[in-house]
Symmetry: C3
Subunit: 267 residues, 3 copies
């Protein structure tokens, strides 16, 4: 996978990525989009989301701090995106923690064509119908094979499914890709997961092979994290460096450091 080339394309095309996202990490999502080479726009009002998404090259839906009105906005924007074949990335934050989150995630998957679903192991397991335990927005335990569950979810939803963790997984239901880049400090700041979805939005905008787009976004953010961790050992300092290493990341560095393994299908 030529990730460096995709990164260069993001920077060249500067895709507009419309986010309907949570209140906690909305600033981080906007800034990481800019650092990756895209242009962020955030708009939540049901009155304007359709018109806003029409201008975008990708839509990111994040259910981290839902409101009823925001769900309506997600459905409106999502339907308009589908009609215009604008890719949608879904980040089902905390799905399984509450009935509302599960209901909303299922409704989004039922009523919209989602192109990429990105979650932690428990979020993906729960969406796939498996058993898992969430504590707030943290994955506590997954009692089944995450790879299988991710592949099942990909087949059911016809979306590419990305599972973040020590090793990240990306599957289209057939091939299973592993990404071995990244750094433990990513778990010590709030918003890494949300930012990952934003970067996926940037890559999905310029590459409609969504398994490639999702994997490339993970590689790019993870390599930036590795470089950031060479300069900063504590979370806040690391967070600043994460933005800046992504901003300054050379395509050839990405390709050189990329650790992608393509595994056989198991299911």
């Amino acid at each position: 996978m030529n990730t460096g080339k995709l990164l260069a394309l993001v920077r060249q095309r500067q895709p507009l990525v419309h986010h309907i996202t949570n209140a906690v990490t909305i600033s981080e999502c906007a800034n990481i989009t800019l650092a990756a080479g895209g242009l962020p726009v955030m708009a939540n009002a049901v009155e304007e989301v359709e018109e806003m998404v029409e201008q975008a090259q990708a839509l990111v839906l994040n259910i981290g701090t839902l409101t009823r009105e925001q769900v309506e906005a997600m459905l409106l924007a999502g339907k308009r995106a589908n009609a215009l074949q604008i890719p949608i990335v879904l980040d089902p934050v905390g799905v399984g923690a509450t009935k509302m989150r599960l209901d909303v995630a299922k409704r989004l998957l039922a009523e919209l064509k989602i192109n990429v679903i990105k979650g932690n192991a428990a979020e993906i397991a729960i969406l796939a119908g498996g058993r898992a335990k969430m504590l707030g927005v943290e994955a506590v335990a997954v009692s089944e094979d995450v790879e299988l569950l991710a592949q099942n979810l990909a087949r059911q939803s016809k979306a590419v499914v990305a599972v973040t963790g020590k090793v990240d997984l990306v599957t289209d239901g057939n091939e299973l890709w592993e990404i071995h880049n990244g750094h433990v400090l990513m778990a010590k700041i709030v918003g890494t997961g949300c930012m990952t979805a934003s970067v996926m939005g940037c890559f999905a905008a310029i590459c409609h092979e969504y398994q490639q787009a999702a994997a490339a976004a993970l590689v790019v953010l993870n390599v930036a994290a590795e470089l950031a961790a060479e300069r900063a050992k504590t979370p806040a300092a690391f967070k600043g460096e994460l933005f800046d290493r992504l901003y300054a990341l050379a395509p050839e560095t990405v390709d050189c450091r990329q650790k992608l393994k393509i595994k056989e299908v198991q299911g």
Copy 2:
């Protein structure tokens, strides 16, 4: 007070701290919770707050950017927390600046059992029925004895009351504790007060002696601020260091630097 031991316990147990909080500092509250050793979760929707707080070990209510719906969510989450004996920390941001804030704070105190109330001198004075002047969310002047007012509020509300300022006070209505740690740069960034409540949530989660929990949280954040100020002399740099010094804070450093004075009851 063995603050270092309590800090170690927070890190070991990683309590989930549910916040219903303001839009300005929501990201800072989440990140400081993580830096202190807890796990943050933010959820505001009336449909899910009860289910979310059930998973938490503490609930932090902050009235900094109220909406009607958020007040409903606070009451629902608070009642569920009370039923399950999950401690509640109330941060009555800007109480006294507007009638709405005073009404909401009083309603929360009337309908919920609050375990810790944390505010600046004017906020606490106003809740205690004293005279004080707020300008927006800043304490401008308090025309009565804050120690007495804090003790009165503690007795009326049966909550531990913490007053932040040059010297921080913590009282259960009987003993009055003073904390002489901290640094003036804390007042030069937005959100120090909100972050203090989050750290109190972490400590209240693992120590149900709430005077100890509130005081320990103040000591820990203030000591982190002192260490941060040794490395950074300007607000934004200080803010980054505040998170990182808290994250890296050794329990023995806390105990070594703690400046806690226990004063007699005056009222």
Copy 3:
């Protein structure tokens, strides 16, 4: 223009600046207000905005993430501000991107006396009735003379109009001032525009000659950006430095670096 003296006055008077603003950059707006020497307060609820703005010396309205209820709050706060002659700064973020944004901006201009309108070239062009293209919240293209459009808008609205860009413009409809300070890194972080409006709020609060106030705010923030760019070459590091260089900015440095050109009226 004695910008250094105005900066000193902001710091001396510490004006309270009430913001009704977007969710993306609300934290940045609060922190930059503090760094400039003002006191920020954010309040959105229709129940309290009138009472809050009464205490303020300036009101900043930013339409970056509108909701219906927020529009009501803006009108209520704005009318109260007008009645009390508290200056209003309007930041019409993304106007022209959606019908809602244009309708809201026009309604605010019709129902309120706005003192300063600050936008990028496309936002100002669209408000002036000219042709321009927005992509999300980015100015893509303006097909007419921005200086003329800004002057027309200033005359129509009786507001001072500030246009941010490589060179910033400030006009009262007669004189046209150019500010040649600033740095390209300002465009690499999210929220520079929003922060500019916050700093304008601080200066409008203490100087009711609004062309001077708006220009002084631009000079001050731009000079801070120049100094920040001497210390940091990447966006996140630059952002931290921008706050800190503004906080530490000496009035004499501002006056020494100020690059203000007063042009003749063209219209």
